[in-house]
């Protein structure tokens, strides 16, 4: 299994280096910066709307090392949210009117306090949970085999990555053997009712392109996925989210190493869609890192771009002050505004 950029001491494990690349080169004289692009449609500075989703990254540890991972997650990442920080998140959740708690990682289920956190959040009235599961974690160890029942008990909305309905494309991006385990995990989720009509148990899949190209039409991809997974494996799911790979972290490393960086950035800029800017996820989401710091989105978190505000930590959370901020942008933001747009909920335009 590959190691994370951090474990390999890769140059790009340094977020300043990533930002230096994104801020220079073709963006010095060939392509417009994201700030200048959104200025033309009077959308600069980008400002938050009503906060609806609190997305909490409970740790960067993962049982997989996916080639495109923007988190640079993997088994060698030890950053894990403590119970104390979770308590601080719960205190905030008690008092704010967010409608969704979105748990991500790494593999969020690998945080030893994951189940406790979900149960405590349930007790204080959170009803709309999303867990971004990589699927294979369910089979990784006996202690995870009952996750489908746990998800069902708390009516958790499961959002799972599956880059393709064929073994080759999936394993190339996510590692050898991942496809077969993912299929097995999806069947386990189906067996308890997930993705089945009228069960009320939502199972959505996330499609990320397995290379230096943008996702195609979300609805067409969903149709292809549904047909293939049903025919080949008798698997049902609700919705497919097509998410664009953002040029940061491991995907940026891949783009540069494969000499695709400039063409990919051109493709993102050419596909810029001003109407997607209106609904990008940073406008209604706040991202919390494993150590409690606040970010406009999970991507800014991975670039270590904390919110542009006097409040920077969940311990000092103040919605009124936080909402009065400019969202931090850079060229990676083109990834969320290309074509039909891209967010953790798929297309936005």
């Amino acid at each position: 299994m590959k190691k994370s950029l951090q474990a390999r001491n890769n140059d790009l494990a340094n977020t300043s280096r990533q930002l230096e690349i994104l801020s220079n080169g073709i963006f010095k004289d060939e392509l417009p910066t994201f700030a200048s692009k959104i200025s033309k449609t009077n959308q600069f500075p980008l400002r938050p709307k009503k906060l609806e989703i609190l997305q909490i990254n409970v740790g960067y540890m993962c049982n997989q090392v996916c080639a495109h991972c923007h988190v640079d997650a993997g088994p060698d990442r030890k950053e894990i949210m403590t119970k104390e920080t979770m308590q601080q998140c719960l205190s905030v959740l008690k008092n704010v009117a967010v409608h969704t708690l979105d748990l991500t990682g790494g593999a969020p289920e690998m945080n030893p306090h994951f189940r406790w956190f979900v149960e405590e959040a349930s007790k204080i009235g959170v009803t709309n949970f999303i867990v971004r599961s990589n699927l294979t974690i369910i089979l990784a160890n006996k202690k995870y085999h009952d996750l489908p029942d746990f998800f069902k008990k708390h009516n958790i909305h499961v959002v799972s990555s599956l880059p393709h309905y064929t073994r080759g494309k999936t394993d190339k991006q996510r590692g050898s053997g991942v496809f077969d385990k993912s299929i097995k995990a999806l069947q386990m989720l189906n067996a308890v009712g997930y993705g089945k009509p009228n069960s009320g148990l939502e199972l959505d899949l996330v499609y990320n392109p397995s290379g230096a190209f943008l996702p195609g039409n979300q609805q067409e991809l969903e149709n292809d996925f549904k047909k293939a997974l049903k025919e080949d494996f008798n698997i049902d799911f609700n919705t497919l989210f097509a998410i664009t790979n953002l040029p940061i972290s491991r995907f940026l490393d891949y783009l540069i190493a494969s000499d695709n960086y400039e063409d990919y950035m051109y493709a993102l800029v050419e596909a810029y869609n001003p109407s997607a800017v209106e609904n990008v996820m940073c406008t209604n989401t706040l991202s919390v890192s494993w150590d409690g710091f606040l970010y406009d989105c999970d991507f800014n978190q991975m670039l270590n771009l904390k919110v542009n505000n006097t409040i920077k930590h969940i311990a000092n959370y103040n919605e009124e002050i936080l909402q009065n901020r400019n969202i931090i942008i850079n060229q990676h933001c083109y990834g969320c505004t290309a074509g039909a747009g891209s967010s953790c909920q798929g297309t936005v335009a």
Binding site: Y207, G216, E270
Partner: protein, 111 residues
């Protein structure tokens, strides 16, 4: 001036052909975009046809464009290669079917 006839970066400038004749350029792109809309054939089927034709006419720009388009649509390598073999078979067949003409001529000329 470029030292090669084809520069991959020129594909991005395809739209510039309207600069020297806006009316015809616009008409072409309007037609082009209409052709690739979902119709009786799906976008996926049209992408595979375009990919096969691109190889038949050996257009490097079209090959780049429709390889990328096929990937975006989730089309697999196996499907793409099969489409190319269809193009290859038709192209090869087009040569070989003329063998009948050759045979007819030989049969006519030989005693």
């Amino acid at each position: 001036m470029s030292k090669t006839y084809y520069d991959p970066a020129d594909l991005r400038k395809f739209g510039n052909i309207t600069d020297w004749n806006e009316e015809l350029g616009d008409k072409f792109f309007e037609y082009y975009n209409s052709v690739f809309k979902e119709g009786a054939l799906s976008g996926r089927e049209k992408a595979l046809i375009a990919l096969a034709v691109a190889h038949t006419i050996q257009c490097p720009y079209c090959i780049d464009a429709y390889t990328g388009d096929s990937l975006k649509r989730g089309i697999t390598k196996q499907e793409m290669m099969e489409a190319l073999h269809v193009a290859g078979a038709i192209r090869g067949g087009a040569s070989l079917v003329h063998g009948v003409q050759m045979m007819n001529k030989v049969n006519k000329l030989e005693m």
